[in-house]
């Protein structure tokens, strides 16, 4: 059984070639393939779970091998994915800076995951919500404001009641996050759509002064108006007793959040996993 698997792996590996010139694409093995398959079942995945997934794939296909450093592992896969115009992109949640990963489309094609899951009027509802979110000061759009646009939607007529359910569907599918009746973009949507958003709304879009990526939620300087992600603020002002705006040097008026600590996260997640396995054992 073991031999068969190892043999199979060798056969399906593309021989590494050194043609010189353009950079060599990495090599896919069943470890990488299972990883990709399972990663695709998540719209977006937190780093700790990505590591778990990676370990699982090694366990299934190559128990003896050392688990490659995650960054190298992903870069290897991305070099193969490049010709397919997709990549495993790393980002961070805007509220607390947890690293997250998603498989995103790099080319604007007619084919999109979201388009296949939703009807025309539902997609238009998302677009309306997206515009409100981008235009807002806080990065949040209220349920009421979104629902008021229901008459303007393309496609089949949608009532407010139905629109409420569609919004919940967006939350379930990790396109939107809901907080106290207001909606903002999920990290999944930010990772997948950053390019599209920057091109479609070049005037309205906000950019972080530190990392230069798309900004939906963040803090802003009250004097000069520059904005920063909360995790970017945390990192930039870490152990700085007198935080000042990097642009205009005025006193930074907001509370400085904590830098995301993966160690604390692991402790919390382990206790979560224990609870989860206890629960599943009860069934």
């Amino acid at each position: 059984m073991e031999e068969g698997r190892a043999e199979r792996r060798r056969r399906t590996e593309a021989p590494s070639h050194t043609q010189g010139g353009p950079r060599r694409a990495g090599v896919m093995t069943d470890v990488h393939r299972r990883f990709l398959q399972l990663l695709m079942t998540h719209g977006v995945l937190e780093e700790w779970d990505v590591r778990r997934l990676q370990k699982h794939c090694y366990r299934v296909h190559d128990r003896t091998a050392a688990v490659e450093e995650l960054e190298d592992f992903i870069n290897n896969i991305n070099s193969v994915l490049e010709s397919l115009y997709i990549e495993i992109k790393k980002g961070a949640t805007e509220d607390d800076g947890r690293p997250v990963y998603a498989l995103v489309n790099l080319a604007t094609t007619s084919v999109s995951k979201m388009a296949s899951d939703f009807a025309e009027n539902e997609l238009d509802l998302f677009r309306k919500a997206l515009e409100l979110i981008i235009d807002s000061e806080t990065g949040f759009a209220s349920s009421t404001n979104i629902l008021n646009l229901v008459d303007q939607l393309k496609g089949k007529k949608m009532r407010k009641k139905e629109a409420e359910q569609v919004l919940q569907k967006f939350v379930q599918n990790k396109w939107l996050i809901e907080k106290e009746g207001e909606f903002t973009l999920h990290s999944r949507a930010i990772l997948e759509m950053e390019q599209y958003i920057r091109e479609t709304y070049p005037d309205a879009v906000k950019i972080c002064n530190i990392c230069h990526s798309l900004l939906i939620q963040g803090q802003s300087c009250e004097t000069c108006g520059i904005r920063m992600h909360l995790p970017c603020v945390a990192k930039y002002f870490q152990s700085n007793s007198e935080p000042r705006c990097p642009h205009c040097n005025d006193y930074w008026p907001h509370e400085i959040p904590e830098v995301f600590d993966p160690e604390k996260e692991r402790e919390a997640a382990t206790s979560r996993a224990t609870k989860r396995s206890l629960r599943s054992r009860q069934h």
């Binding site: 056969r11 593309a14 393939r33 010709s83 115009y85 094609t109």
Partner: protein, 288 residues
């Protein structure tokens, strides 16, 4: 397991690129050359900048560039992945309509390239559901493992359990079973055609509609029956995704017995294994 066939050495980056270069040259001979040239002067892999990989494959009269072709294959791969997630067989007409468009003339090549990438990168094999059906499904070349369920983002298919039970019933009963017999059995497990189920939702709809639409089952009316009865058999997808031996092993496991404890079915499963091991005459590769 036994689903894997001997892979031909496809998917090697340089051979793929060579083929694409040939297209560029070939097309240039037919049509007036544009400033892009025949594409043969381009490197096997265009040295891509790390910046924007944005591109749109706009149909052009004349030679198509390396990048346009690459992008078309990428679109096709994504389309097939997304469509297959719903487990509905993918129609050739849909592929042509939604992805291929003006590239219709090189459709077989595009599909072949997409199939190669799907297998090399993702471990999915593109197969035609039935010969000449012009519908396709993706078969997983990787064996699903129990622990996959713990790291998945979707429920996988909780309905798989129910499907396996029905497949088992059908096989053990001689490859065909009456619907009434299925419910007689499932009732004992607390699954009813008329009652909503906590995990399966609407079991009747699942078995007689969903699984049928996904081509796992075939559902046919038995003529001259009163009250009307239907018969269930394995569908074409089942034969591609699993085997009689696998299903027999599942049934045996459920009963905590050995597959050989059912000699008739075991013989049949063995014969099926032998038939599968024989090299295929015309493989399930996409027909042009």
């Amino acid at each position: 397991g036994d689903m894997l066939q001997k892979p031909r050495s496809r998917g090697r980056p340089n051979s793929q690129a060579e083929r694409e270069r040939d297209w560029g040259r070939g097309a240039a001979e037919e049509a007036p050359s544009t400033s892009r040239g025949a594409g043969s002067s381009q490197e096997a892999r265009s040295a891509s900048s790390q910046g924007s990989r944005r591109a749109e494959a706009s149909p052009e009269v004349g030679p198509r560039s390396q990048q346009q072709l690459e992008l078309k294959v990428a679109e096709l791969v994504q389309f097939l992945l997304i469509k297959d997630q719903k487990k509905i067989p993918i129609k050739r007409t849909d592929i042509l309509k939604h992805v291929i468009g003006d590239y219709k003339d090189i459709f077989p090549d595009l599909l072949k390239l997409a199939a190669e990438r799907l297998e090399y990168v993702f471990g999915y094999k593109l197969v035609e559901l039935e010969p000449k059906s012009n519908t396709y499904i993706l078969i997983n070349t990787l064996e699903p493992v129990e622990e996959d369920a713990e790291v998945r983002g979707d429920q996988g298919t909780p309905t798989t359990g129910l499907l396996m039970i029905v497949l088992g019933l059908i096989f053990m009963k001689g490859n065909t079973i009456k619907e009434t017999e299925v419910w007689d059995f499932l009732r004992r497990l607390g699954v009813y055609p008329t009652k909503k189920h906590l995990v399966f939702g609407d079991p009747k709809k699942l078995i007689t509609e969903e699984f049928v639409r996904q081509r796992y089952l075939e559902y046919r009316r038995i003529p001259h029956t009163d009250p009307v009865d239907y018969e269930l058999q394995w569908g074409p997808r089942t034969n591609l995704e699993t085997s009689k031996m696998k299903v027999l092993k599942f049934v045996a496991k459920v009963h905590n017995q050995d597959p050989k404890d059912w000699p008739a079915q075991y013989c049949e499963a063995l014969a099926d294994e032998e038939a599968r091991a024989r090299p295929e005459t015309s493989g399930p590769a996409p027909s042009s």
